[in-house]
Amino acid sequence: MRDLNAPANPLETLAYIIAQQIEDHSVVYIGTGIPMVAGILAKKTHAPNITLVYESGGQDPIEGDMPWSVGCPMTWRKSPTIMEMSYSFAQCYNGYVDIGFLGFAQVDMYGNVNTHMIGKDYHQPKVRLTGSGGNNDLSSLTEKMVLVGLQTPDKFPEKVDFVTSVGWLAGDDSRREAGLIGNGPAAVISPWGVYDFHPVSKRMRVKSLTPGVTFEIAQQLTGFELLRPEGDIPDTKLITPECLKIIRTQVDPRGVFTIMPAA
């Protein structure tokens, strides 16, 4: 049983902020990890009528255990339909999916994502990561794309080591000129801040920061120059005690994705 009185950890904070991006009645493409926690939290709180879509084919499972991956039986347990993967993606291609969340190991100032490898040469990886999975596919498929991950200068470099998924490419009009469909990344969410992209230059810009985090701290956690919004920077709405309790007792009671790994 989890300690219900401990303060929210960064992963729980992240899950809550992501959940707030989900509007009721929307169709949500869910990737492995924190997006699952967020999707189920949204469904149990402010957005009970959303449809959760998983790439292995499961769609809208009834409340059950936290899936450990998007291929896990909990993604389709007692769900009204189980599709094959190509049809699950095709729903996005045809514009039926409203919002999708992409995880990243690295994200750059234009929202380009890396989940492949760390190092200078793909053939000689310093660290081999998972690869694309559905990451690249969703980046061109969902109507609204939100990037999710942890934030350090290494994870927010000026240039990613490998472009798994294209965000705003090289900024300005480059994404459109390259002929990409989809609306591009709308936001980047880390435990410390929520970022959007400048409407013209498409460079990453602070939207709101976790209480206690100043612009300067956010900048120190970033490997490129962040843009500052006009006026005061609002605080990100923090997780409520009710939602924290729901995560710990109902959504992820065994802490599959919301217990911080030991350092």
Binding site: S56, G71, P73, W76, I82, E84, M85, S132, N136, G182
Partner: protein, 351 residues
């Protein structure tokens, strides 16, 4: 005519020695659930060499095949990160040592290669955002042939395409099959059906071998028709330690043991000596598991049943007469038909 379709039932050892050859391309049909570990262990045990291995959401299956020195080339869209943050998995060790070539696709583009293969097309269009990514730009063993670009004749747009994949051998583990190879699988299929239908030879292992009567009463579960299948192996626990709907969850005890084995190169080797090379087949693997971890551990992951409602496949047998007593095809009633017979007697065959 007498039903003379032969039984394809054999052991994993026979199937792998007969149908998997050095240098073949081999695909795991299962997406993430029901990974065909018994067949994979057999390939490693028979020390097959020079394989091109396809695994969309690669897990321990890829790590084992690479560590078994069976694989030269790997085609994948995702690889589970084994071995923790320090040790790393065999894939990255082999890749760094120049002993393994890896071609990375995304889920959709990997699946599209199989969909093209299954449909008999030579290529398949994919989504444009791939073109500006390094998935498109960085090529390994496929070089120029990893992606292509064509112009759509209807919109004039440039469209990236992927070449069809038709692997030599598909390994598939399912819940049940009959002796002719009709294989039934339910759950999160992912790209399983495309992987099977694109492949030239299909080897099926199943938890239970069932009568044809079971298959014909539930055709919606059959994902591969029997005539496409070359071998059927009744292999309980054939996908252990991965999960299978109706049978079991992933065996976390075994998965933790495997993960710990990555901590040194030697570790995976001694794990192989004990669990792969040291055991002749799956039955002895499960017996060994029980000896090491206990039968309670095995049973801890057993599924609780949740049955699907039966589907009613009944039809009304058609009558040639409508409710007004008219023969549908001839447009006459019984008296009219009798008159026709009288008039054209010799020509009307009422046999």
């Amino acid at each position: 005519m007498k039903n003379c379709r032969p039984s394809k039932v054999m052991t994993a050892h026979e199937a792998v020695s007969r149908y998997v050859h050095d240098g073949d391309s081999v695909i795991t049909g299962n997406y993430t659930e029901g990974l065909p570990f018994s067949l994979l262990f057999e390939i490693i045990r028979q020390r097959k060499k020079g394989l091109t291995y396809y695994s969309q959401s690669g897990s321990a299956d890829v790590e084992f095949m690479v560590a078994g020195d069976c694989v030269d080339k790997l085609c994948t869209a995702f690889l589970h990160k084994w071995g923790g943050r320090t040790a790393g998995g065999m894939v990255e060790r082999y890749q760094r040592a120049g002993k393994l070539q890896v071609e990375d696709y995304s889920n959709f583009t990997y699946n599209a290669r199989l969909a093209a293969g299954a449909n008999g097309y030579s290529f398949m269009p994919v989504l444009p955002s791939i073109m500006d990514s390094d998935v498109f730009k960085i090529r390994d063993y496929m070089g120029e042939n990893k992606f292509g670009v064509v112009r759509c004749p209807f919109t004039g747009r440039e469209i990236p395409v992927v070449p069809a994949a038709n692997p030599d051998v598909c390994l598939l583990h399912v819940q049940r099959a009959d002796k002719h190879g009709n294989a039934q699988h339910w759950g999160g299929l992912g790209s399983t059906v495309h992987a099977c239908l694109a492949s030239k030879t299909i080897i099926v292992s199943c938890e239970e071998l069932v009568d044809f009567d079971v298959i014909k009463s539930s055709p919606h579960h059959t994902i591969v028709p029997g005539f496409r299948v070359s071998a059927v192996i009744e292999e309980p626990y054939g996908c252990h330690p991965s999960e299978l709907p109706g049978y079991r969850n992933p065996d976390m005890t075994m998965l933790r043991f495997i993960d710990n084995s990555f901590s040194s190169d030697e570790g995976l080797r001694s794990m192989f000596d004990e669990w792969v090379y040291g055991l002749p087949d799956r039955a002895s693997y499960i017996k060994h598991y029980i000896d090491v971890f206990g039968v309670e551990s095995l049973n801890r992951y057993r599924a609780r049943s949740y049955y699907s409602a039966p589907a009613d496949y009944g039809v009304a047998f058609e009558s040639g007469w409508d409710t007004y007593g008219q023969a549908l095809l001839l447009g006459v009633d019984m008296a009219g038909l009798e008159q026709l017979i009288a008039e054209k007697g010799d020509l009307v065959d009422v046999n």
